[in-house]
């Protein structure tokens, strides 16, 4: 397959392929982070996670249209603002969803699955009513388009680099929040022993609500970021949900490190397979391997052996 190429050409291809893998990794991780928090910390199966991503994407689209119409001079900068707004909008919606729906179902994880699926249907139809059935794309600022060329033969996509950087920032932020802040301590305490946490004066209800909102907010950031690589339609969210769950489950639900490792291995496996075999079979092999591994290691890659 590689006979007729020079070493420098091959080197460039491998460098770019390596970046493709890393880029997919950052996409998967960004999708999964919010879910890892919600599913891992709270045990809630949020099937509407993809729709919260779509909320972020539509917010970005809305911001883009707004800026284009009223403040065209600000176009280069709107995207950064849009990410923050997407986080807030998705977070607030998540907060409301928790209040109206999720908090009644903590003891019935399978029921949260059904209820959030219902929520996702309602959200999809709302997108359709508000933004129309067509796929939309925000106008991207020029600095997000095109590629960076360290040499003549290497093109590194700017949007990929942006998503990578954003993922790094969000991941570090989540780590800080969960493991360094006092709020994170309360979240982890609540996860491990709800009754005891309540007894020592933690407002577990508020912890739940903000944790859920945070997870949804991160989904919103992911959605905003994905407008740079794909489009947004009412049913966009459903495309991501299975992949996202696989990443979280494969990593071992309660472990953020696990989620990162899992996103990395899935992304590398898939992008390598895709390089050597046709796209749709690559996907089948990847998913199949995941199912097989999960059968032998149902608790995922990184679940600590707990004394029960």
């Amino acid at each position: 397959m590689f006979d007729e190429y020079t070493y420098s050409e091959l080197g460039s291809i491998f460098a770019m392929q390596g970046f493709a893998g890393i880029s997919l990794f950052s996409v998967l991780l960004l999708m999964a982070l919010g879910l890892a928090i919600i599913f891992g910390q709270m045990g809630v199966i949020n099937m509407a996670h993809g729709e919260f991503m779509a909320v972020g994407a539509y917010t970005t689209y809305f911001m883009s249209t707004l800026t284009e119409t009223y403040f065209p001079s600000l176009m280069p900068y709107y995207f950064l603002v849009a990410i923050v707004v997407a986080f807030c909008v998705a977070g607030v919606l998540g907060y409301l969803a928790e209040y109206a729906l999720i908090r009644h179902l903590y003891k019935r994880p399978l029921d949260t699955l059904l209820a959030t699926w219902g929520l996702s249907l309602i959200m999809q139809q709302s997108f359709r009513t508000l933004f129309g059935a067509r796929e939309v794309s925000p106008t991207l600022p020029d600095w997000l388009l095109g590629s960076y060329q360290p040499t003549d033969t290497i093109d590194i996509p700017l949007n990929g680099m942006f998503v990578l950087a954003l993922t790094a920032v969000v991941t570090l932020g989540v780590f800080y929040l969960l493991y360094k802040s006092s709020w994170g301590l309360r979240v982890r305490a609540t996860t491990q022993n709800r009754v005891m946490s309540g007894a020592v004066g933690i407002n577990t209800k508020s912890v739940d609500r903000y944790t859920f909102a945070l997870g949804c907010g991160i989904a919103g950031i992911a959605g905003a970021a994905f407008t740079t690589i794909a489009s947004t339609g009412p049913t966009t969210g459903t495309l991501y949900i299975v992949d996202t769950f696989m990443v979280v489950v494969f990593g071992g639900a309660a472990s953020l490190i696990g989620t990162i490792v899992s996103a990395f291995s899935i992304a590398q496996a898939q992008s390598l397979l895709e390089f050597f075999i046709s796209g749709s079979m690559a996907k089948v092999y990847t998913l199949f391997a995941l199912v097989l591994i999960l059968m032998f290691k149902p608790e995922g890659l990184f679940a600590s052996k707990v004394r029960r």
């Binding site: 600590s304 052996k305 707990v306 004394r307 029960r308």
Partner: protein, 248 residues
Amino acid sequence: MDTNTNFTLAIEDLTVSFDGFKAVDALNFYLDKNELHVVIGPNGAGKTTVLDLICGKTKSTEGSIKFLNKELTKMAEHEIVRAGVGRKFQTPSIYENLSVLENLEISYPYGRGVYGSLTFKRNKTVLDKIHEIAKQIMLDDALDTEAGLLSHGQKQWLEIGMLLIQDPQLLMLDEPVAGMSVKEREQTAELLNKISEGRSVLVIEHDMEFVERIADKVTVLHQGKILATGDMETVQNDPKVIEVYLGH
């Protein structure tokens, strides 16, 4: 190695570690036939973990557990039960939506396969056995009551009854009198004395008064290791035990 013994239960060098923390550490423990043995110890001593290891709920890291000279560590939970080990959990573990009769019926050691359970019939043999056990556990008047409606003490008894109906050689009870009234404790003590005839019983308990009343032998567990073992008096006077319970 061939280490057949006359013990009902012989635990040797048993160790289990959770991420490096040894909850049970090189434990050696023997239980005679017809012995009622109580394990006591402070919280986190590894008492419940020992029961978990015996009944297969937790897999050991090292060591052996022999029940009537049969190695249990490699067996699945249901095989251990079928071999004759019954276990009551700390919080009553009964089927709250089913009646007392159905609870006992499900526990009846017959029709345990898929096909068997489909063709299982509630015949006279079954009913007789259920009545006999119900009488023993003082629930013969409550056979049609939904189990969820029983008092806490009655639930504990029902779970004991569900084990008894299987006629186990080894009965393990995790805090059988927790949450019981004084009267219920007395009745339970009687019940235990009665049912320990013809089988070995291993009990975890905190209530020293109750322990004193039932125990043939007492073992004190501390940090996954045995601190002392013997009859109640010996153990109570053991300086190490006093240190753990009173000292610091």
